[in-house]
């Protein structure tokens, strides 16, 4: 089913603030096996000029993707989430996320396309801190694969 084109350009209200915790950053860094002290040692992070431990570059995806959920699950859009795969992901940083940040995400639908039976959705998440300053923007391309006969896999 083709997605509703009228959704292009639509923005959703900013999310409630997500408070970035020092131990959540540590948990994430450990899960990706990254021992960079900037993620776990606030003195090491300060020596690099950061106010506190910083988060690995892709950490913020958990926040932006949750925010994108209000787009993905919007029944009027008609996306079949059971067939969705992650196509592309990009981040542009004004500064790294750090412990103590209170981040809000504003999600915008940048593009809605149908290509060879696949539905393609581009969502932008603009992330701001408590002072309203820009921190990072995340672009997520989701592809809902065309339904195909199971026999084709064999």
């Amino acid at each position: 089913m083709a997605l509703d084109q009228s959704f292009v350009g639509r923005s959703y209200p900013p999310t409630d603030p997500y408070e970035v915790g020092r131990e959540k950053i540590r948990e994430f860094a450990e899960a990706v096996g990254d021992a960079n002290p900037a993620y776990t040692d606030s003195e090491a992070a300060k020596a690099l000029g950061h106010p506190d431990v910083i988060a690995p570059p892709t950490f913020v995806f958990a926040i932006t993707f949750k925010a994108a959920g209000q787009v993905i699950q919007d029944p009027q859009l008609g996306l079949d989430y059971s067939r969705v795969v992650h196509g592309d992901q990009k981040f542009a940083y004004t500064r790294p996320v750090h412990a103590g940040d209170r981040l809000t995400v504003t999600s915008t639908i940048e593009a809605v396309k149908s290509l060879a039976g696949n539905d393609i959705l581009d969502v932008r998440g603009d992330v701001h801190d408590a002072a309203g300053e820009h921190v990072v923007t995340a672009w997520t391309k989701l592809v809902a694969r065309a339904a195909e006969p199971a026999a084709e896999e064999a």
């Binding site: 096996g33 960079n36 690099l48 892709t58 592309d88 981040f91």
Partner: protein, 142 residues
Amino acid sequence: MTAKISYDDVEVGTELPAQTFPVTRATLVQYAGASGDFNPIHWNEKFALEVGLPDVIAHGMFTMAEAIRVVTDWAGDPGAVVEYGVRFTKPVVVPNDDKGATIDVSAKVAAKLDDRQVRVDLLAKSGDQKVLGMSRAVVRLA
């Protein structure tokens, strides 16, 4: 931001130290918990097969997180990363054994930009499959 590599010391073609990252089923369960992505294709073989995958696959965002380590380990300060983008071209298939899979990442400086920034192009493979395409980071060097 305090990168340990100087812009003046790199040229187009400068190679970053390559790294190999192991990934097992246990890694994926840990990543699921840390990231909040509990999609069963990343831990439930039966479910993965039912939706047409060859086996359990790694989270794309896990692969993306590993690949940038080649850049952040080189630059020293992860805060030096200004932009980072990838295309997920093939999944990293993770068998249910004690070895799992590996993600091999190499990278080189592809362009020198203004403001002491460089563009680094990354290559990520698992076995002989290229798992990330259009994989690029912009980094501000010292």
